[in-house]
């Protein structure tokens, strides 16, 4: 005899089992990297999962490496990420708001074109971008920011979907209360979309933080490691050290762990904003 509650327990058990297996699968590589970053080695690649000898040397090494200016990379990346996140968030949120709230003649065609354009991967444009930026003499961090911000407007779909859920009658009420379009946006639209702004800021911060392709093609021409961003710099540690790669492997791993820290902290802090639901109470309920 299988009772309903037993059935539920069994199904719950399997669900948790599956989740546990997946969690382990996903956590192992991360754990591996973290452990490797603490492991002492002078021979090259680390061959054991758990360090045979614990050390902080890799972390000290990556920050004091004379050949690879890791600190510069972090500062560069932080600069690029913060500037482009700020600009991209503003652009993306405003574009989304406009497309959600205002009605204008080419709105529909624009939405369709944006959808189609969004289906092409961004790196398709890299050759063209390279030549454009070269022509503008902007194969530097400024050009990189331009590339990241330039495409921000097209990422409006998620935010637009969010704005669409805010009842239009709120806008109308504010309009009758005497608000201008801009005031409706800043005093009603924005405060209600905090979760969306946080989400947008996070994604637009993360993209430059981890991007390798564009930083690679745009920054590689300068040949000056001090202008690199983290992803491209770290790649260089292994690829350009000419047979010496193994010597830097442990430092490379430590470098990877360091750049993961800010994103992780950001996520933990911003997590609560993901819980939307502040629109509750606007309508009947």
């Amino acid at each position: 005899m299988k009772s309903y509650s037993n059935q539920r327990k069994v199904s719950l058990f399997f669900r948790y089992l599956l989740l546990t297996i997946l969690a382990i699968l996903w956590l192992i590589p991360i754990l591996w990297i973290v452990l490797a970053s603490f492991s002492y080695n002078d021979t090259g690649f680390i061959s054991t999962f758990f360090p045979e000898k614990w050390t902080f040397q890799n972390y000290i090494g990556i920050f004091t490496n004379s050949q690879f200016p890791y600190l510069h990379w972090i500062i560069n990346t932080l600069l690029v990420a913060i500037i482009s996140a700020t600009l991209s968030t503003f652009i993306q949120i405003t574009v989304a708001y406009v497309l959600s709230r205002l009605r204008f003649r080419l709105r529909k065609p624009f939405l369709q074109i944006a959808l189609v354009l969004g289906m092409f991967p961004g790196f398709m444009s890299m050759i063209a971008l390279y030549y454009i930026l070269k022509g503008l003499n902007m194969l530097n961090l400024g050009g990189l920011i331009l590339v990241y911000v330039g495409g921000a407007g097209l990422g409006f779909y998620v935010a637009k979907g969010f704005f669409d859920t805010i009842p239009r009658s709120l806008d109308e009420a504010a309009e009758l209360d005497g608000a201008t379009r801009w005031q409706i946006f800043t005093k009603i639209g924005l405060p209600l979309s905090k979760p969306m702004i946080v989400y947008t800021a996070l994604t637009t911060f993360m993209a430059p933080w981890v991007d390798f392709i564009f930083s690679g093609i745009i920054l590689s021409t300068s040949g000056d490691p001090k202008t690199y961003t983290i992803a491209y710099g770290l790649y260089n540690m292994l690829s350009s050290s000419k047979g010496n790669a193994t010597a830097y492997f442990a430092q490379f791993v430590a470098g990877c762990v360091v750049i993961a820290i800010p994103i992780t902290i950001l996520f933990i802090i911003m997590q609560k904003f993901y819980v939307s639901g502040i629109t509750v109470g606007a309508d009947k309920g």
Partner: protein, 368 residues
């Protein structure tokens, strides 16, 4: 306080084939409480939104206080509006919700505080000022929405089905509160509803609409007692007016199903004069004009039909009896003492002095 003139206003949405509102012509006086009533999609909300400026006017002119307002922005029309879903700003406290419009208009702090506190006092919200809309009940939210309109001190209130999200009991008490508020503030109010009870109880004048057109404008008494056409007669009043498809001939109406009654002399004269003798017409009779008390049946034995009860509903003081005579069905509201069970055979007296007669083709009321 102001007068509002709606001069032959039309509304056609882009891509729509037909007009949503046609030839809406209405002149609203100072302090008036006007109710637009009609079934869903009749254009009443659209008209209200055109007055507010939330919809463009396709044709015709809207004048408020003597000035043409067609192209004036909503915020400059000095109109306060209460929305069906309240439209409270969820991220603001009750206080801030009410103060929002005043802040936008740069009133000084003391004045804002005075007005908000005042409105909160009137609406019994004083203890809720620091709460957010999410922490309020439906009735309280409705009050805040009203409060937001009151603090503005706007000369015109627009209300778009403000009570339709409330439960039945709350609706009745809020209705009374809105009536009280209007007596106190005397603000010119336009109120949209599909509920004829709200229209009857609140309005100075009712505008009955159907399919984008005004059917009748009149006081509640007028639209109830002298409906302009069959639509108004059927829409106003609950339960609905009974309609009988009858033939009028020589002072008698006959529905061919067993209802054959003499038309009172005065009414018959009008029908004769208008040339309806021998023609098919529609007779309307309100449920309360169907009688079952002995006194009526004995006094007017010629106005009595034998009917069968199909459904009976006891409402306490009255009972509603759904009856039929052959295939003709009608409902009567009678004293609870005259309650009958389904299947009972009853005698029903038709008070034809209060009957309404409509032209079968045009559905317009036949009057003298």
């Amino acid at each position: 306080m102001v007068k509002i003139n709606l001069n032959h206003i039309y509304k056609k949405y882009p891509n729509a084939d037909d007009y949503s509102v046609s030839d809406f012509d209405l002149h609203i006086g100072d302090h008036e409480f006007i109710v637009f009533v009609g079934p869903s999609g009749c254009g009443k909300s659209t008209t209200l939104r055109m007055i507010a400026g939330l919809e463009d006017i396709t044709e015709g002119t809207l004048e408020i206080g003597g000035k043409v307002m067609n192209d004036v922005a909503p915020r400059d029309r000095h109109i306060a509006m209460v929305f069906q879903n309240y439209a409270l700003y969820p991220h603001m406290t009750v206080y801030d919700n009410m103060a929002f419009s005043l802040k936008l208009r740069h009133y000084d702090k003391a004045e804002i505080d005075k007005r908000v506190k005042n409105a909160a006092e009137v609406l019994g919200l004083a203890h809720l000022l620091e709460r957010r809309p999410a922490d309020l009940s439906g009735g309280q939210r409705q009050r805040v929405a009203l409060g937001r309109a009151i603090v503005r001190d706007a000369p015109i209130f627009l209300m778009d089905e403000p009570l339709s999200n409330l439960d039945a009991k709350l609706r009745v008490s809020m209705r009374a509160e809105i009536a009280k508020l209007h007596q106190k503030l005397k603000t010119t109010t336009i109120y949209v509803t599909h509920d004829q009870t709200e229209a009857m109880t609140l309005a100075d004048r009712i505008v009955v609409m159907n399919a984008g057109r005004i059917q009748q404008i009149g006081t509640p008494k007028e639209v109830y007692n002298k409906p302009a056409n069959q639509f108004v007669a059927g829409f106003i009043g609950s339960p609905q007016m009974n309609f009988f498809n009858v033939t009028y001939k020589d002072g008698y109406i006959d529905d061919g199903q067993g209802i054959k009654l003499e038309v009172p002399e005065g009414r018959a004269k009008v029908l004769d004069a208008k040339g309806y003798n021998g023609k098919a017409i529609v007779m309307g009779l309100r449920p309360e004009d169907i009688h079952m008390e002995e006194a009526f049946l004995e006094t007017w034995p010629e106005a009595v039909v034998s009917a069968k009860v199909v459904v009976s509903e006891l409402l306490g003081a009255t009972s509603q009896l759904y009856m039929n005579v052959d295939k003709t069905e009608f409902v009567g509201v009678v004293n609870a003492r005259d309650f009958h069970k389904p299947g009972d055979s009853v005698k029903a007296g038709f008070n034809l002095n209060n009957a309404h007669f409509f032209d079968k083709e045009t559905q317009v009321t036949i009057t003298d």
